[in-house]
């Protein structure tokens, strides 16, 4: 579904991502791990279009994503979650999700209709699914931190993404393909079906949890005693 082929991205001579390879099949949960500074965040930025690769290709469903801006990549079905809570703080819970639904339906340039109550059925259903329906008219910056994180996931879901960095539970319930980045190795091996290890911008190894755990190079470079 998603293929990253020998992608390179450098910042003023420093090769943040240097020939990384990655493939994620449909419905798979894949983790990207690696020490700090290995280029994981840069890789994600390349996939979501916030950065353009210097060379190499990023293919999604067989088509090259090269050079597409983030909002178009999103429309192709890739949605991202963020490391910090990322919502629309001054809008209500309902409006947060509503915007995402309207964006998916390409209605954001409609200046003639009344937005009130638009797509209400779907938004309410999503909110019920994530358990936020009781707070639908609350301004989202007044939610607890945990609820804000849930809301963020609800917003990401509203775009009907096929690829999202989330957790296994969501993968099972919504049939999502998930690519994620996590430092807690216990969690990684519990959630991920496959793991890709990055060191110094390149892909060291890619394989099942057991394969990665057994890899001598990975043990030396990164896992140390934890595996």
């Amino acid at each position: 579904m998603l293929r990253v082929e020998s992608v390179v991205k450098s910042f003023g001579g420093f090769k943040a991502v240097n020939g990384a390879n990655l493939h994620v099949g449909k419905g798979e949960i894949v983790a990207v791990i690696g020490p700090n500074g290995a280029g994981k965040t840069t890789l994600f930025h390349l996939i979501t279009g916030h950065l353009a690769p210097d060379s190499g290709r990023i293919l999604f469903k067989g088509r090259d994503l090269g050079g597409l801006p983030p909002h178009l990549i999103c429309r192709k079905g890739i949605t991202r979650s963020f490391q910090v809570v990322n919502i629309f703080p001054q809008l209500t819970v309902f409006e947060n999700v509503q915007i995402a639904v309207l964006s998916r339906e390409r209605k954001t340039f409609d200046i003639f209709s009344k937005v009130e109550g638009m797509a209400a059925e779907e938004v309410d259903r999503i909110l019920r699914n994530v358990g936020l329906h009781g707070r639908r008219d609350v301004r989202s910056d007044l939610l607890s931190h945990g609820d804000q994180k849930v809301l963020e996931i609800a917003v990401a879901l509203s775009g009907k993404p096929e690829l999202i960095r989330l957790i296994r539970k969501l993968s099972e319930e919504f049939g999502l393909t998930i690519l994620f980045c996590e430092h807690d190795m216990g969690l990684v091996f519990e959630i991920a079906q496959r793991v890709m290890v990055m060191v110094r911008g390149g892909t060291v190894v890619q394989g099942s949890c057991d394969e990665v755990r057994a890899n001598r190079e990975v043990q030396d470079a990164y896992l140390g005693g934890t595996a």
Binding site: T48, P69, P70, H71, L72, C74, R75, T79, R80, F82, N86, I87, F88, P89, Q90, L91, E95, N96, Q98, I99, A100, L102, S103, R104, K107, T108, F109, D110, I111, F112, S113, K114, V115, E116, M118, V155, A156, S158, G159
Partner: protein, 310 residues
């Protein structure tokens, strides 16, 4: 609630229509200025309050709207309705050009570049004696009979302003308006849900420029003159202050703010030329005690009470 709003709006409109019947000519003029300045501030608020775009030099579009209308009437001898549409269209076109240049920048960088470009337009208007009249401006613009009297100009301003505010209200409450608020709150997030942030900002700027131009066009109807000061950057800041004073995050806030400011200037300047001092004091108090602006405060207070009562 709906019915109550309808009754309140009808009463307010009837009162506004009756104003020229009992007010002296000067105050009818002041009322017209209050209306069109309110439209100007509300149009700016679409960009700054709803879109979070730092449109620091908004009165450029006000000025271009006014000059466009005035030039059409004096030079081209166009009929008044044509001239009144040409001004705003020119403002929207300029807004598109300036927007295309500025829109990739964010926050203060956008604001600074916008002031620079706006000042460029101002300099052209200020210096081009043969076309715009330079620093003298254009005076005594000929208007057709129905608009020539103070009451006629007032009714025209009232009708156009009410129509425009209705349109702006619809835009603010449309999917586009809601998306714009999302872009304001979190542009990165907006992109990640598939929103073309740059294009939404640009459209918002063009709409704001257009309605700013309508306000300028109305100024010609009311005052019969256009002068470079109306598009000097300090006046833009005054309009910005109107939005802050009334409350940027409510639709009617800028209107309340602009009315307050215009009336303050008219009535306080009768007693002292230091009306700016009084305005400054009021503004400081508002910013310290009512960070949401006058209307923002009232809305919160009112809604709060309602919630308590329920």
């Amino acid at each position: 609630m709906k019915k109550r709003t309808f009754v309140a709006v009808s009463v307010a409109l009837l009162l506004l229509c009756a104003l020229p019947l009992f007010l002296p000519r000067f105050y009818v003029y002041v009322a017209s200025i209050v209306l069109l300045t309110g439209l100007l501030a509300t149009s700016l608020n679409l960009a700054i309050g709803y879109g979070g775009i730092y449109q620091f030099h908004h009165t450029v579009f006000y000025g271009v709207g006014a000059y466009g209308t005035a030039l059409m009437l004096t030079r081209a001898g166009a009929p008044a309705p044509v001239a009144m549409i040409a001004g705003p269209l020119a403002a929207a076109a300029l807004s598109l050009v300036m927007g295309l240049i500025c829109v990739r920048l964010s926050k203060l960088y956008f604001g600074m570049l916008q002031i620079s470009l706006g000042s460029l337009v101002w300099v052209v208007v200020y210096r081009w004696y043969s076309f715009t009249g330079g620093d003298d401006g254009i005076h005594g613009v000929p208007l057709p009979d129905p608009l020539a009297s103070a009451a006629g100009a007032y009714y025209c301003t009232l009708a156009v302003t009410v129509l425009c505010l209705f349109a702006l209200r619809r835009i603010a409450g449309s999917p586009f308006g809601k998306t714009l608020q999302g872009v304001r709150d979190n542009p990165v997030r907006s992109e990640a849900i598939g929103v073309d942030v740059t294009l939404h900002r640009l459209v918002a700027l063009v709409i704001a420029g257009f309605f700013g131009g309508v306000a300028g066009s109305l100024f010609i109807v009311v005052d019969g003159s256009a002068f470079p000061d109306m598009m000097f950057w300090t006046y833009s800041l005054e309009v910005l202050i109107m939005c802050l004073l009334g409350g940027m995050y409510t639709f009617w806030g800028p209107f309340v703010g602009s009315s307050t400011l215009v009336l303050l200037r008219v009535f306080v300047s009768v007693y002292t030329q230091y009306w700016g001092l009084i305005l400054g004091t009021i503004l400081s108090l508002v910013i310290i005690f009512l960070p949401d602006g006058l209307l923002g405060f009232l809305v919160r207070r009112f809604r709060g009470r309602e919630a308590d009562g329920a």
